[in-house]
């Protein structure tokens, strides 16, 4: 029987490896030594943060330039994929999350920002390293009998030097970190400037 199944309205998630990994790793290693990580009082004992208020801007405070330059290329590629002509962007916030044994991140989203991202600075390849996951932005997918088979959680494989970009509205979390070695992730929120391609070009892109 001839048939077709189309996947309607999926959420695009970008995964890339940074080119200048050694320099970028050093850039973050240098600032991590200066930071007094703390739990957020309102979150409870979830995971340690460079700034539990989320008001500081890590990239500005520590003059993180190499990573920001690299990120710009990845963001451009991600936006192009979606048919968005990027003319500029700004960081709404940036911070570091540090996971010690027993730490995790509850499922959350990043509100009204356009793009959120994570850079994996220190990951452990052994079992028990807290795994990042996405949950469905479509509640009906999870609550329908058939849908829960393809909704639910989607784990994201992590690698040091990897960069993840996703819509700020996409819910995500981190499973409990069960090993002694620390796990360190750089997170950030981006506001973009630009416009979507015209509908004719978009139609070709999405065909």
């Amino acid at each position: 029987m001839k048939y077709a199944i189309k996947d309607l309205y999926p959420t695009p998630v970008y995964f890339g490896l940074v080119e200048d990994k050694d320099e970028i790793q050093k850039e973050f290693s240098d600032c991590i030594g200066e930071i007094d990580f703390k739990y957020s009082k309102s979150f409870g004992q979830t995971h340690h943060l460079s700034d539990p208020t989320f008001k500081e801007h890590l990239f500005e405070k520590y003059k993180i330039k190499k990573f920001v330059d690299e990120l710009q290329k990845h963001l451009g590629a991600y936006m192009s994929h979606m048919g968005f002509q990027l003319s500029g962007f700004s960081f709404e916030s940036s911070w570091i999350s540090l996971y010690r044994k027993g730490d995790y991140a509850h499922v959350h989203h990043h509100g009204g920002v356009d793009i959120s991202g994570a850079y994996y600075h220190k990951i452990n390849k052994e079992e028990g390293d807290g795994q990042f996951f996405f949950t469905s932005p479509n509640l009906a997918l999870d609550t329908s009998l058939m849908g829960k088979k393809f909704g639910g959680r989607i784990p994201v494989p992590a690698e040091e030097g990897a960069l993840l970009l996703f819509p700020g509205w996409l819910p995500h979390g981190v499973e409990t970190h069960q090993i002694d070695s620390e796990r360190i992730v750089i997170s950030f929120n981006i506001l973009v400037q630009g416009k979507m391609m015209d509908e004719e070009m978009l139609s070709k892109l999405y065909k």
């Binding site: 029987m1 077709a4 996947d7 932005p137 479509n138 997918l141 058939m146 509205w169 630009g194």
Partner: protein
């Protein structure tokens, strides 16, 4: 190395029926005797075999060939989604007739596990079905393009999709009557 993963999509199944001539014949006996009416709450959108959606045309009129054909498509749809197919019932089914100027407003089919439509009489420009994103936050996002997904289908085609997926039908701009059979499927929850 870069890659873009497309996550959490909603599946839409599309196929032509195998037993087209027999199924068309089966439906033709039913269509001619239906006193179509408009749902008074909907306004002037389209004509329905019964406006309250509480009946089951497929069962009442014993549309056995279509029912048998549908079963194979439902199984195929479930298999592709890695969902172990189970017994189901067609909980309601109805016929929608679109004369010139008729359309269907955007709606969903509530708690139906699978909803579907069979195109009994269809030509170009008589109103394409379109779907709306089930993720409203993506529609209001500046850098994501999630327009209505419009589908041009042919007579004899069958669509299956989750009941929660919102959809509508564009205006029939032709002089031709457009007729489709819609149905809602619920999987059996309790097994004896």
């Amino acid at each position: 190395m870069t890659s873009i993963a497309e996550l959490f999509g909603t599946p839409l199944y599309r196929s032509k029926v195998n037993n087209y001539d027999e199924i068309q014949k089966e439906f033709s006996y039913v269509v001619k005797d239906i006193p179509f009416e408009k749902n008074p709450y909907y306004g002037q959108d389209n004509y329905l075999s019964h406006g309250d959606f509480n009946r089951n045309i497929i069962k009442e009129c014993m549309l056995l060939k279509f029912e048998e054909e549908l079963k194979s498509h439902v199984e195929l749809f479930c298999d592709n989604l890695n969902f172990k197919s189970r017994s189901y019932s067609i909980r309601n089914s109805w016929i929608a007739k679109f004369e010139k100027g008729n359309y269907a407003h955007i709606h969903d089919h509530g708690s139906s596990d699978i909803s579907g439509v069979y195109y009994y009489k269809k030509c170009d420009n008589d109103g394409n079905i379109f779907f709306q994103s089930p993720v409203p936050q993506s529609e209001s996002s500046m850098c994501f393009w999630n327009p209505h997904f419009e589908l041009s289908v042919e007579q004899g085609e069958l669509l299956l999709f989750p009941g929660y997926l919102k959809h509508g039908i564009h205006v029939n701009e032709t002089e031709e009557t457009r007729i489709s059979f819609s149905f809602d499927i619920s999987f059996i929850r309790v097994v004896d």
